[in-house]
Symmetry: D2
Subunit: 392 residues, 4 copies
């Protein structure tokens, strides 16, 4: 018997909201970030336009995947992804495995008719990503490569500023992703994050950001000393710039950032201060005494990742009647790193459930493939010590 006065939750508000079954492959850092997104979307993006249902998580080590299922609230788990892909309750395949496992499972998922979300870098090289792109095209499924930083409110603001023409013509892009030790490694201890090639794990973010904000890249000229990537790039537009990815920069901690200069203004941003965009707009009045970079805290209602105009543009949607700023927190309440993933995954689920485009705000497999083509050109350039024109 229910306690007196207690009314059980009514599901009415959720009636008719499309549900999407999720099957995730992998459960480490990115598994945590994506699972957090699926669990947060239902109450944070409100009124609801899509509801993820956590069907299954998959991994080879049963003990671990079982714990992950319990932890994140998946209804169950698989230890074989091919079996998971047969599960008819699953519409969305989310690939959060280590980089070398991005390719084949994603292709298999597309072949099984699942919509595919794949972590970045999309593949190990453009041969892989080319096949992945062909697979989703052939299957006609929605697809997104998880370049989550596109969905930071400050990056979205940068995109909007550029799209409105407020910077004029883009001329110069400076992008970097720098990491480094904080603590001196002891004897016999390998340096954390010190080895390996920075290009795919973090350089891919810079390449995607460059393309997102300044357009496609036409030619590259690169050095790759000791796993670091330093590259000069020419954009298709005639703009130019630099891309740097380095995991040996003491004191740097996830410092992914850009500086972008146009004929009428400039922007800069850094991931460790992700709620702020620095915006300079050339003054029209030569007597202006207050020219300077504006330190824009991107937390106003007009800044929200889902902007009012976009919402209002959904004619007939019950979102139209809502005030702006429903998502996340009021002005001045800063957002954390995980919001990029949450926003990105909402965007993808909404695209599937309500048949909206993933592009241009989300990175499609076309974008993920393009990043791989550019990465390959960077590797070739570094090897041959000359400029390489990026294949079309």
């Amino acid at each position: 018997m229910l306690p007196e006065g207690f009314t059980p939750q009514k599901e009415g508000l959720l009636e008719g909201v499309p549900e999407l079954g999720i099957g995730m492959l992998g459960y480490e850092f990115m598994g945590k970030a994506h699972s957090n997104a699926y669990r947060t979307i239902p109450y944070m993006f409100w009124p609801p336009v899509v509801r993820p249902r956590l069907i299954a998580i998959c991994g080879r080590t049963e003990e671990k995947v079982s714990e992950a299922a319990t932890r994140y609230g998946y209804e169950g788990y698989y230890t074989d992804y091919e079996r998971m892909l047969q599960d008819p309750r699953i519409q969305v395949f989310d690939n959060v495995t280590p980089d070398p496992m991005h390719c084949e499972p994603s292709i298999a998922a597309a072949a099984a008719g699942k919509h595919v979300l794949c972590e970045k870098p999309m593949g190990m090289n453009s041969e892989e990503t080319g096949r992945m792109l062909a697979a989703v095209r052939k299957a006609g499924v929605k697809n997104m490569c998880s370049f989550n930083y596109r969905f930071m409110p400050a990056v979205r603001l940068a995109k909007d500023i550029i799209d409105r023409g407020m910077l004029g013509e883009i001329k110069h892009f400076r992008g970097s992703y720098l990491f480094g030790m904080s603590v001196r490694p002891g004897p016999g201890v390998a340096q954390r994050r010190g080895g390996g090639n920075a290009l795919l794990p973090i350089g891919s973010h810079v390449i995607d950001m460059a393309r997102f904000l300044a357009g496609d890249i036409a030619a590259v000229n690169a050095m790759m000393p000791g796993g670091t990537t330093v590259a000069m790039v020419e954009f298709a537009s005639g703009a130019y710039g630099t891309i740097e990815a380095n995991t040996s920069c003491p004191g740097k901690k996830n410092n992914h950032g850009f500086e972008i200069h146009g004929t009428l203004g400039s922007l800069s941003w850094d991931l460790t201060d992700l709620n702020r965009l620095q915006v300079f707009l050339v003054e029209e009045d030569p007597a202006s005494i207050v020219g300077g970079y504006r330190n824009v805290l991107v937390t106003e209602a007009v800044h929200n990742y889902i902007r009012w105009e976009q919402i209002a543009a959904r004619e007939g949607s019950f979102l139209v009647s809502r005030a702006p700023g429903q998502v996340w927190w009021p002005q001045g309440h800063i957002e954390g790193w995980e919001h990029g993933h949450i926003n990105a995954i909402f965007h993808f689920l909404d695209a599937i459930a309500n048949d909206r485009p993933v592009a241009p705000y989300g990175a499609t497999f076309e974008d993920g493939h393009r990043v791989a083509v550019i990465s390959d050109a960077i590797i070739q350039s570094a090897a041959e010590k000359r400029e390489i024109v990026v294949p079309a």
Copy 2:
């Protein structure tokens, strides 16, 4: 029939983890922040030491409270909090109502034997908070006033630095909470956030922060022009400082911050850059060439809100075997405003479930009452234009 290869989630890992039934009163901004905490704790603080169960949410307007129950996943709702307090499934009463409703429901909840979490300011004045404190003492229930900023990793780091004696003797505390318009109000439109008294809504945060970091306040001397609070304070230790709360500072957006000076070092922090603590330590070597404030990005494993030492100190806990840094994200991945609430509520639930103290990291009703006593002294001082000794 289950799909082939699918194993349903096993609950084994959750066996024996204490469960706490939650009943929340209110559902607006703070209801969203607290509900988000209850929904995030189960998978973010892992392995689990407590599991909240969202029994009911309560509000007078059925349409709204029903929507909130659906949105945040409460099992049901009440429209009468006194009835909710009779619900035996509920162990924790969470009061997120507007300030004038903090007092009586919290007292009733204590009387009903519920542990009580109450939003700040704890009451409208010290008469109210005195009665609230008496009620929880009499009932012997756990209690916490939701001064969430204590649980920001950077604030916790500040506390640790002070407790280790790294600043020497604290001498000077400068605390403020400043808000303001970004957009000029149109004709006939009242200024957002412009009116009313800043002391209780935001000044209470500054008073609590002052006490948390610099100790109790012995005397105050204040002005309260136009709803603003400007106060000078003397601490019991002999330290001194200023407290300012103002909602009419254009361009300020949730700028809660402090600067604290001791004989051996200084700290400063701002809520809109909440992942950083500025730390200055007086050099011992007069020939040091690198003295300066350190810009500490508080995202290292050693910085996590639940620090390794504390966890390791829980003998017999299965947490002991875990590596540091399990909570939240790896270094350099910044945390958002809501993490303060999530961390705070985890702290309270853990205190209840595992019989650990709320103090000194959490603010008890004793702390909440003390803030009210000091607020009353500030009001009296402003009225009488003289220093008021804060009653013991």
Copy 3:
């Protein structure tokens, strides 16, 4: 015989430029700063409108004053200021002595018909400054108290922004001057800058800045623990604020700054970043996406201490035909601390030589006296632990 092709310097350009004989009392830190100003003005403020002539420097210790005369290029020296005041070649008496010696020599100088420039604080209390003010009024000489920070380009920009009404009505002023150790004092070593009362040496700067930007102060309420000054102030306009002066803040080094909030905007500034003014202007367009503090590097031609409009307003002056930005360096070339003194002293010499007003940009003895009256009220308030209305 001159070398072939060599033409000796022609004095023609200097003909008719008024010359002012300088007699300085004191030769330590401020003597260096002022002497540097006199030596820099002739070629930096060009075309010249006044030429200082360094007649004599005065001090009691002959060895030191003789060295100072040689070092700074004074034509000679005195060891008795009363004798120096008889020197008919001297028109300007510059008092850079320790604070207790500001009063009597300045009065004597006025009585001797010299224009008087006196370092801050103008006197030890308002009794002294009252007599000093009476003396210069009676003598009818030009007078300035060396509140040099008024002449920083960023402070001048702040003044201009306020005077143009861009901030609306000023509501809140937060001013401070904080100093502290960088190095731990060894055993038996007294703390540098640690002792004494901060009010006169540095608090006077904050009081003058408050009056310069926000108008006169009507009432004060202060604490002075351990030589520190913490005060709440009410302005004649109804605005309010805080004033803090403290020499025990580790890591702070000459951090004189202010934050000022009006109904339409806000400003902030810090002396250790003196070329920048942070400017927030409330947006008129609610859909603006780029609201934020502007980081204004105050080095544009329109920012120069001597602004074009002022120069152009000198009808008949040969300055009129000059382009703006003649003084100091091109945009982006930052100015140092000493420029405040150089600009201030130029302002005073120009006022004397060309009969222009010292006020409102320069601080007159009236301003210096007013600062002392307010300082006295602060001391009284701290002693009596109550608000003191500042005497008119």
Copy 4:
């Protein structure tokens, strides 16, 4: 007859201080900066170790050069530099002409036995600078190329930190010099600073800074779109980096800066905040909770451009008995852009007068030539779109 009590300046302190006759070619922006240095050195670097005497200034337009002589206090002027080079009173030739005039007059000056100070870039290409270097070598005269930023206290601190090994092995250098418009150019108005090649005027500063801090450059790979320079560089040490020089970055104003990463630490600096060096040192203690970039305000006595150790090392010098920090201002009093030139020119005059080496702190003609060789390689690389090994 002298006034009573007046003692004329005694020259005793200056007896024996070597005097150097200066002859300057050019009188625009750099003429102002250098003349300011010559006029400031005699009283700022005290006790004096060298005294410049401003013999003559030279330019083709008599009206202008005559005005400059009067303005800056040169004893006279020439309109033909070859005649000036015959003036036996002149020991130092200072070439502050536009870049294309750096070569021949400097060579002629060396041939005439004058010590030569030449503005940067030293020549238009390495053919010119090679001849200039040969000329000073043949003549055996002291020589310096005016890379003034080496003499900023923060840059000197960076050099000291590196030389002490505090950064470990240098791995990555990121240098840039960015300029841009603040105001939109009107119709028919050419963009300020927008045209021309950025490499020589500002890129040369970045190349010199790279060499000063990270050692010589072995190979370059560059793009030069629209007058901009973007280059990747390999250092002889195996370190790598980027060099960017761009005059089309809106909002940037003289933003010359670097970021430098070693195995044990990192540094960064920007010319528009020239008194601060950001210093990160890898912590030795893994439990350190205060790791972070230190914001070092480079104004302590231990930071002065002329450091105490260097002064003390001059045995027999009367400087030895002086306390550190004599030069410029006390801690916390920030220095302006012109101090770089003043410090640099003092360094050069002291090197001449007291037979001390210009290198390694000053840039010799060898350094200036090397910058030109690297610049030529950059131009070739951009033309050929491939890496160019810099000739030895």
